[in-house]
């Protein structure tokens, strides 16, 4: 399970990096989405993997931390997901505006001499 999730984070991150190095703005936004999955998962796994241990306290019992998943990375990732949506929206609007103003969807606002 550890190996699977670590490999997957690697694959998502690599695909994201490939995409943000591309010249088209849509490729970059896709890359950012993939990167945010990878990074969110990474932050999440710093609390280690735990199955069937949601951080919902059973009331009236003495709290044994080993019975619950680490809540801190979860709270951090939750806000990160929502903020990620907001920044994606902002980037999308900027890229649409740039496309409208410059007539191209190249990230630099102008086509390069050699078209990729």
């Amino acid at each position: 399970m550890e190996l699977t999730i670590a490999l997957s984070i690697g694959v998502l991150f690599g695909s994201g990096i490939w995409l943000i190095l591309r010249p088209r703005s849509f490729q970059v936004i896709t890359g950012l989405l993939l990167l945010s999955y990878a990074v969110n998962l990474f932050i999440f796994i710093t609390g280690r993997l735990s199955v069937n241990k949601p951080p919902l306290i059973v009331q009236g019992e003495v709290v044994d931390p080993s019975l619950y998943a680490d809540p801190l990375p979860q709270a951090l990732v939750l806000t990160a997901i929502v903020i990620g949506f907001a920044t994606t929206a902002l980037y999308l609007v900027v890229l649409l505006g740039s496309r409208g103003l410059t007539g191209t969807d190249h990230v630099d606002g102008k086509e390069r001499d050699s078209e990729e």
Binding site: M1, I5, A6, L7, I9, G10, V11, L12, F13, G14, S15, I17, W18, L21, R22, R24, F26, Q27, V28, I29, T30, L33, L34, Y37, F42, F44, T46, G47, R48, L49, V51, K53, P55, L56, I57, Q59, V63, P65, Y68, A69, D70, P71, L72, Q74, A75, V77, T79, I83, F85, A86, A89, L92, V93, L96, G97, R99, G100, L101, D108, E116
Partner: protein
Amino acid sequence: MTLLLLLLPFAGCVIAACMPAYARNREAWFAAFIALCGLLLTLSLYPEVSSGIVIKHELAWLPMFDLNLVLRMDGLAWLFSVLIQGICLLVVLYARYYMSPKDPVPRFFAFLLAFMGAMQGVVISGNLIQLVMFWELTSLTSFLLIGYWHHRADARRGARMAFTVTSIGGLCLLAGVLLLGYIAGSYDLDAVLASADIIRAHKAYLPALVLIALGALTKSAQFPFHFWLPHAMAAPTPVSAYLHSATMVKAGIFLLMRLWPVLAGTPEWTWIIGTAGVCTMLIGAYLAIFQHDLKGLLAYSTISHLGLITCLLGIGTPLAMVAAIFHTLNHAIFKASLFMAVGIIDHESGTRDMRKLSGLSRLMPYTATLAIVASAAMAGVPLLNGFLSKEMFFAEALQVGPSSNWWMSAAAVLMGVFGVAYSMRFISVFFGAKATELPKQPHEPPRWMRFPVELLVLCCLIVGVAPQLSIGVPLQTAAASVLGERLPDYNLAIWHGINAPLVMSILAFALGILLFKVLKYRFNLLQSAHIPMLYRFNGKQAYESSMLILASSAARLERLFSSRRLQSQLLLLVLAGLFASALMLQAMPDFNPVWSVEHFNLPFALLWLIGCTCAVCAAWQAKYHRLAALMLVGGTGIVTSLTFLWLSAPDLALTQLMVETVTTVLLLLGLRWLPSRISARKMNLVASSRDKLRRSRDLVIAIIAGSVMFVISYFVLLHPANFTISNFFLDNAVPGGGGTNVVNVLLVDFRNFDTLGEITVLSIVALTVYALLRRFRPAPESIGIPAQQANQVDPASRQTPAQQANSGYLLIPGIYLRLLLPVIGISAAYFFMRGHNLPGGGFIAGLVFAVGMIIQYMLAGTVWIESRLKLNPHRWIAVGIGLACFTGLGSLAFGYPFLTTHTAHLTLPVLGELHLPSAFIFDLGVFAVVVGTTMLILVALAHQSVRSHRVPGAPVDNNATTSREIR
């Protein structure tokens, strides 16, 4: 009392700055009043100080870091305070007449008072860090004062140069002081002074000494940093009189005296400080002879005298210390009077050029007499104060080294010779034929403009004639505060009998007069524009070229590493990240990857097989098949969401699922405005080898980055869990937060300040998106209906959105979803209500509700929805932030800190016991903000398809589509 002394000038500065520009008299009287109060306050402390008491006033600020505001007044600080306040008073009086009515005087007096406060802060600081802070403040205020006439290029340049040099020195000083505090274990001055022996024996002594010396030497314009001072002469003369006689440049001297008990007494000290002092006094005195500007001459003479004091400090004997303090005092008195006299000459005759001025003693006899007496004091003529301290200097110079070592004595005499020569040069403007071609006809200045000069010259005389009577006790107190028990016996008297120093003085006078005559008659000194021997030696040139090198190398670096192209910037960023993680991997202790298969879970692996395939395919397809790529990314998102669910994070799973939905809709709305792209294969394009190379490079980087991320993640997972602060949250969620869902309690209770910040960011982003879209100009070719929508068979594709809405377009699914809206609303309410104890909460409920609304928009169309339902997302955002802040402020009313939460339990008739924490209201705010932002962003984007867009250059067609904006 000392605190008042410190606060008074700054308060005065603020008031002076607010006075009207024309109120020249009021300003001057006010500033003089402040300085007088300061002076009287200082004088009132004299009985205490003279009895050897160190007055200390401490205000706790950060006691655990040993950072407190400590005001400490001892003999040395007292003497400097009298100089600072007293000369400021005279300068203010003088400036009243000197400044022209056209100058903006409020600025002048405000800066002057601020500068005085900063200087006062330096001398009475009892904490080293605090001292450096005031030190930097003097640099800043002196920058403002030197650049007071900022319309003049030379004033700007001079101010900048002074500021650059002194503030670089200030940085060095800060580093040095930190080292010193580190060695001594405290930044308190008394503690540092007490651990002098430890400091001198410590291995960090030399770096600390060098850094502190750099600070002091730059401030006091010592060689090789002396070049800034002559350029600072572009300041108004009252400023020069104040800064370069008693204050600014004396701050360096003061620092050396203050730290003398700690740092002096080692060969390193003598070499660094002594050498700088000797070089400075000789070079300054030599260059002073060849100046043509009266102020320039005084500037170099100041440099030379400061060198003399530094040299005395460098010699390091207790008697030299007494001489240094004495000369500091004497120099302040005669140099201030000389600057003011030069200002009078400049003011009344319109020029300071010694080549034009001559015979002034007949035009302004009174001023001339004063200036001649003051310059005699500068040259060290007997019966004047300069003579006494110079004699002491000669006596100390004789003591340096063994008797065969005569170089110090020779240097001292040489300095004396040059001093006499430039003093002769200075007074030569008063003699000779009456100057004829002057810009103004010189005459005596107003009575009160001359008064400060008279007073100061009188001081020169009194100290010169009756030294023990006039200055003996304060001088002894000051010296005792530095030297303590090492205070030597000395005798301030005019006549010590015929001894070596007197012979040296006579020699200096004879040779000085001879030198001046030779230079004047043989080398045409009075008109020559050429400085023999040292003309190549130009500190200003070195400064300018180093500034130039700095700027050009910055430009070169920018050319090398900066790019306007995003791709190169991102590439550099990724490479830097890889480099950093390479360093991190290297630092990891013995990493032995264990390929454990015991936890292998086939369904989970298959799930991620799908997830990874989706990601890779999205990366592959994002260029030509955007819709496909979007769906594939969504697939990865769903897999991520399922993973969260699998790995015990139900809140995350729900949030991720909802955000995934919203993001997909968002991007779908955006796709319409992107240009169509036909694949290269269809266009029969062949990628150039350069492109192929670039792609291969990026692929390699991407694979490396992915592998690094894999290694780090795996490494993290192989290590046992490390609950640092998480246990606290788990333990306290129920007793402290009143909720069993720890993640939600974290968000709305423990870390609710973060959440408040986050919803604020969300709101700002949403409003920014809205504002950007109001000015949205799409490309002309994407204004029409996209090719994918133009379907010949479907009549709806030829209709406007308004027509579609009225003709039953997609009517049946629309009705179904309308029926579904209450269900979705109830689900949102359910998720919201249970959030504190079970998965849910404001974020999730907000997203669920927003998704419900968006589905309505998608099927019924913007026009139909908005003619029936006013959503006003702006108001949702405002209400949400308002609720969150209101809840936070509510706790203040009960005397708790901002955002403290409270849990109440109500029992209602039907619902039973209701769990009602105040975090609930906060969460309601979060809910409202999430709904508002999501709706605002998506609806603003959706509106772009229904509003009319103007093609640049095309006539406005009002009937094309309905133009609507959401309000």
